[in-house]
Symmetry: C2
Subunit: 312 residues, 2 copies
């Protein structure tokens, strides 16, 4: 093992970069903008440039770098090929091969961003020492990563841990972005929570702090629920019930030691965690009843940690 | 690697034993009765005796045996301890340690029986060469095994692949044996299919070949459905819809290359397989739509093959 490594987390608006010692010490992190012009074909050259610049500025040798571990917002197949990242404008891209060439030979490993965040949390975050862990990320979408026996379940088509698209409601009439109906993402994403609150508002004339607000966000719904607003509480409970039920089903498949909740929505903290845990206990198989629940600890850095972990 | 191995599959009424060459050639298989008296404390000694006798009769040396791989009908934790097998009368049993001692030092590895059946099918059965495979076993209960990157997902509490206990119906009022409501097992097990048919009979006055029968079995329901009996078809479709939906959710977690259906109920063959596949396609995440479906190929031998695979 060489002494240094880079972790990269490619998002739709910015790219998070981390310069690490191989033992997991984050020496420096920074962000660059995601250049989505020209079908995103400047993204990899700009990452390569940033890394080469950092190597030079740090006074280390290219030969001291173990590799680059990079997470992308799309499915990665068994052979490491990225099969389409809508947010980046990418079709099929061989990220490992291209980024390796652009950095003049630094080895590259690539993974799905949500999977790498899970791997990062299992390595240096909430799930330290857990060989079996599930992470769910609640943000614009609902993503996830399943760690079984210390390794990511990537899946044959790169769709392992796509837990935002578990069906949790057979009676849903509205469509999810994916084209199905009743996906977890329709209830437990930031937008899903807002839409549950809007439905409650439309379906009752109950008094609520949310009524008449121009803009409702997931944060506002959680804040008002914690303030005792009954209607906001109903929306939050529905979201947590769906998430708890989905996690119970995931546990009947992967049976983790710990479930970690991250992403922007998880800033609602213990209030969210306790409600999800309670809903989980109502639906889980008895053998999994002692599964631990935790909030994520690495925040937006989880992905860059996971990238480095992928190299080890 | 030594030349020979034993695979053992412990059931509630009989114990299947297999004498193998390490390359997966089954040289001989036989069964002994499961002695469940005295809290099942004669089971391991009788297995040890049968194996030692076979070694002697075959003229091979104990030193030529790589090991014994044994499947048990209950959860096996991370350290290989069996945590209760109701059907055997067992509480906590350290099967590896005890059986190794009883065979004077042959190494023993232990796994859950449904998981080992999946491993067997992935090794020498329907899923040959699949590193990502899900097997579901439809019998008295509904069991399963998840193979990710060539390895069983055993889970932290030994509940990996407990797919009979995925919740597939939130509105169920009857209890599953496990104490929950709406488990897959309540619809897709042999008894579940019969109970769906009985409900159809009770809820309508529709003419049906099943009406007035003294004893209805899952086989009869499938046979009549294939004969065109509309009521039997409704029951079969409901069971297959639930199973397909559960498999779609499992695919959003583990994303297998192939789903294998085994167990007594799978004798309904292609008729069953096609209905389940159709239901799966209605509910699966688009990336998993090309997942292959197959009937199991090893029948009751899957578990002994899986036992040997566990040793490799």
């Amino acid at each position: 093992m060489k002494e240094y490594a880079f972790g990269v987390d490619v998002g739709g608006t910015s790219i998070k970069m981390g310069f690490f010692r191989i033992d997991g010490t984050l020496l420096e992190s920074w962000e660059i903008e995601t250049n989505t012009g020209n079908n995103g074909n400047r993204i990899l050259p700009e990452i390569a440039e940033a890394i080469c610049k950092k190597i030079k500025a740090s006074g280390i040798q290219r030969q001291e770098v173990e590799g680059i571990g990079i997470g992308v917002p799309g499915p990665v197949d068994e052979s490491g090929i990225v099969n389409g990242c809508v947010n980046l404008g990418w079709g099929k891209v061989d990220v490992s091969k291209e980024l390796c060439r652009m950095t003049e030979g630094i080895p590259v490993r690539v993974g799905n961003d949500a999977n790498l965040a899970a791997l990062g949390e299992a390595w240096m975050g909430a799930g330290q020492s857990c060989r079996n862990m599930v992470m769910v990320t609640l943000g614009t979408g609902v993503g996830g990563g399943i760690i079984a026996e210390g390794r990511i379940i990537n899946g044959y088509h790169g769709a392992g841990g796509e837990i935002g698209h578990l069906t949790v409601d057979d009676h849903e009439t509205e469509l999810c972005n994916c084209g199905k109906k009743g996906c977890l993402e329709q209830y437990a994403s930031a937008g899903g929570i807002v839409s549950l609150a809007r439905k409650e508002l439309a379906e009752s004339s109950e008094d609520s702090a949310l009524r008449g607000m121009d803009e409702i966000t997931a944060k506002i719904v959680f804040d008002e629920a914690q303030n005792g607003d009954a209607l906001a509480q109903k929306a939050v409970e529905k979201a947590c019930d769906k998430l708890g039920a989905a996690l119970a089903n995931i546990s009947a498949v992967a049976d983790p030691q710990m479930i970690v909740i991250g992403g922007g929505v998880s800033k609602a903290g213990k209030f969210l965690l306790d409600l999800v845990h309670e809903a989980f206990l109502k639906k889980c198989f008895h053998a999994s009843a002692s599964t631990a629940f935790s909030l994520a600890k690495l925040g937006n850095d989880a992905g860059i940690y996971g990238g480095v972990r992928l190299l080890l």
